[in-house]
Amino acid sequence: MNKHLKMDAPQKRVLDETAQGTLGRPLDRPEGPLKVSGRAAYSAEYQLPNMATGVLVRATITHGRMTSLNDEAVRGMPGILGVFTGERFLRNPAQGGAGKAPVQGASEVAYLGQPVALVVAETFEQARHAAQQLRPTFAGEPADTHPEHAAQVDRPDKKQLDQGDVDGAMQAAAASVDVVYTTPPHSSAPMEPHASVAEWQGDRLILRGSYQMLKYNKKELADAIGVAPENVRILSPYVGGGFGSKLGIAPEAVSAALAARELGRPVRVVMSRQQVFEGTMRRSETRQRLRLAVDADGVLTALEHDARVSNLPGESFSEPVQQATHFLYRGENRRHENEIARVHRTCAGSVRAPGEAVGMLALEAAMDELAEAAGIDPIELRKRNIPDTHPENGIPYSARSLAECLDEGARRFGWGQRDLRPGQRREGEWLIGIGVAAAARPNILSDSRARVTLREDATALVETDMTDIGTGTYSVLSQLAAEMLGLPVESVEVRLGDTDLPPAAGSGGSWGASSSGSSVFLACRGIRETLARRIGCGAEALTLQDGVATGGNRRETLRDLLAEGSIEVEGHIEPGETAKEVSQASYGAHFVEVAVSAVTGEVRVRRMLGVFAAGRILNEKTARSQCHGGMIWGIGSALTEEIAHDPRDGHIVNRDLAEYHIPVNMDVPDLDVTFLEERDDHASPIQSKGIGELGISGAGAAVINAIYNACGVRVRDYPATPDKIIAQLAE
């Protein structure tokens, strides 16, 4: 049986009527005991009989051709089973949701660090040593590596917007700002390096790989190695972090599959940390110009947000810098100019909250500057500019609690104590300030399927190829099924990360929980209909709680109702008209207190509060952790994170975790997260919206705004490292 819903109209709040009372509760993750005891097995940890190990070798030029693999000497080394390269090797990972192979061919080099060969040996030590000895020869060609000096700069028509008269509005403004912000490239840097174990069973490839969106990854892998998608099975029950870097099939999977087929043995390939930095996706650097104008009432009359980003020649992805700017604030006169510089640097792709993560660093800091220029409190300025309808296409908004988040945050954080003038509060060497920023992230529903089986023993099995990359999928799907079927949550088993199961939305774009959750909800609705028939009442009249069904004046245990057989339903959610008819987004507000050393320019975040509204919260504990993660990423992008490209050849200089500075424990204060009660009936039948990327959106700008309030230094070139602050403090 199938239960399908196309999201063409707002949906009833069924989950407000169910009786189990488990949904939303801050329950521990069901897979937690496996993770804290080291028993959860990640991709590289499958020890298959007769398995060989491969190590990737990189290009040492920026652009050109590999003229010879030069592998004779290496082939004779102890334990070496083969050296592989060829036209099926991936240049870079597939972009998220591609569903087909990215650019292939190891002989054409497009960036320094591109994987061009795989050395396979009996042991890791042998393979690593031989890979280090392999010296392919290359013929280099000139290459642009700097986005500001690139010869080729694309300006795609569909990425430009010019509405009204921005220049006129700027001239007529009561107050305005015209500022340029820059953000450096970022790396996802998941703690688990990209890893694949490839095993051929006859014509069928079984790949244990660390991936986020399996139904696409299966097609990408099949396309890359030239087999039918039915002959590829990917298993990813545990993924050690993704953040966008594992959205698309990556070089290690394809090279492992090719080598395994050739050798007739399973092959494991794990990227080194350095290879993760240079051979998977980076977030593009951005240069953004903001021109904002308000009238005498503090209402935006002009909003211009332009950006230059970069990517490899031919790549379709470009950082969607204005993704939140489109709908967040008023402003009749609007302009977005987008330029994509073509450079030979590591491929740019999705990193947590593509668009908002850097777009809001600039927009929300510029709003702070505008507030000062206009003499209006930053919160008041934002509230005055919440649009009635979408400022670019006129559609209405679905549930939107931005003003409430700002007000609640202001109350909790003590915003009223803030001195408007910077540099007014000092404790010894430390200058103290607070800052605010809005958070916004569009909500996306994505096609997703799940099978739910209510078994004779009144336990349920949820099966889907959805992944849990730390996001809490195991938790929220078990709670949804338990809620809908009236079961203790322990009676629900969730199986994920296997392409032989019904295809799900995958983990990306913050759509995972709502999309896969909706498919589980629908399947359970189908099961409820069957149970209602068995007990003899309408589906609406059925109550399920703690394994007991009540309806039509009858009360039966689920076990009795299931005596005539288990019930299996596949749920299928499909996005529909509500995606176009209303503007859907999650919203929030960030509040930060920093201390800036007047001696060194060092910034310490002392307090941080996030108030968020993202529709129905499915598990308050895992949702909170998602927000913590986003906010801490915000701290990183504000203060420390920055990929450095060598200006001569574009290579990533700081390609390890000692040189690329993700926040450590000591960089983070105890965070406060509050959720506002909200339902979004347009978003999904479970009224939830995305939360995984909301926490980073705007977070770093709140840090920058707090720095300004603390010491009067406005850093417009992220990250705000001590050198940039002390240089202006000294003036």
Binding site: E31, G32, K35, G38, F124, M191, R624, A658, N665
Partner: protein, 169 residues
């Protein structure tokens, strides 16, 4: 080369390539994959184990250097159904998300509490001598060698302080 390691109370004799790191010996030769490889350069802490009573990064040392040494890995602390208090606290406080850095965090926290009980000061300690009160800052400082990109730091700190009896939640 032959090496005998005493791991979680059990003796293992291995014949390994001398280039094999202690981390790879655990993961590739003993199927003790709870100890994770995040960077292989001593930068992330995911491979933290206890060696002769001290926490170390197992990627930064070779297996053959540890003949006769006593090693505790995450598998030696507890298993589902029989978790130790630190592991339980990590679950309760959601001191993890993807779970990949988690064994290293827990092993590091275990070793760290032992250092504190021996009176080792840290960069943020008020005094170089005497008892160390396990403040939030003290835990954060001592755990900053263990990176977590999911950024579960707030839960990690709470779990550790609760296990140490500093806070009851």
């Amino acid at each position: 080369m032959q090496t005998t390691l005493k791991i979680n109370g059990e003796s293992w004799t291995l014949d390994v390539d001398p280039r094999t790191s202690l981390l790879d010996a655990l993961r590739h030769h003993l199927d003790l994959t709870g100890t994770k490889k995040g960077c292989d350069h001593g930068q992330c802490g995911a491979c933290t184990i206890i060696l002769n009573g001290r926490r170390i990064n197992s990627c930064l040392t070779l297996a053959v250097m540890h003949d006769g040494d006593e090693i505790t890995t995450i598998e030696g602390l507890g298993e589902p159904g029989r978790l130790n208090p630190m592991q339980e606290a990590f679950v309760r406080h959601d001191g993890y998300q993807c779970g990949y850095c988690t064994p290293g965090q827990i092993m590091s926290a275990t070793g760290m509490l032992d250092e504190v009980s021996q009176g080792w000061p840290s960069h943020v300690s008020a005094s170089l001598e005497g008892d160390v009160p396990l403040s939030r800052e003290e835990v954060a400082e001592r755990m900053s060698g263990n990176l977590c990109r999911c950024s579960a730091y707030p839960g990690i700190v709470r779990a550790i302080r609760e296990t140490a009896g500093e806070v009851s939640e």
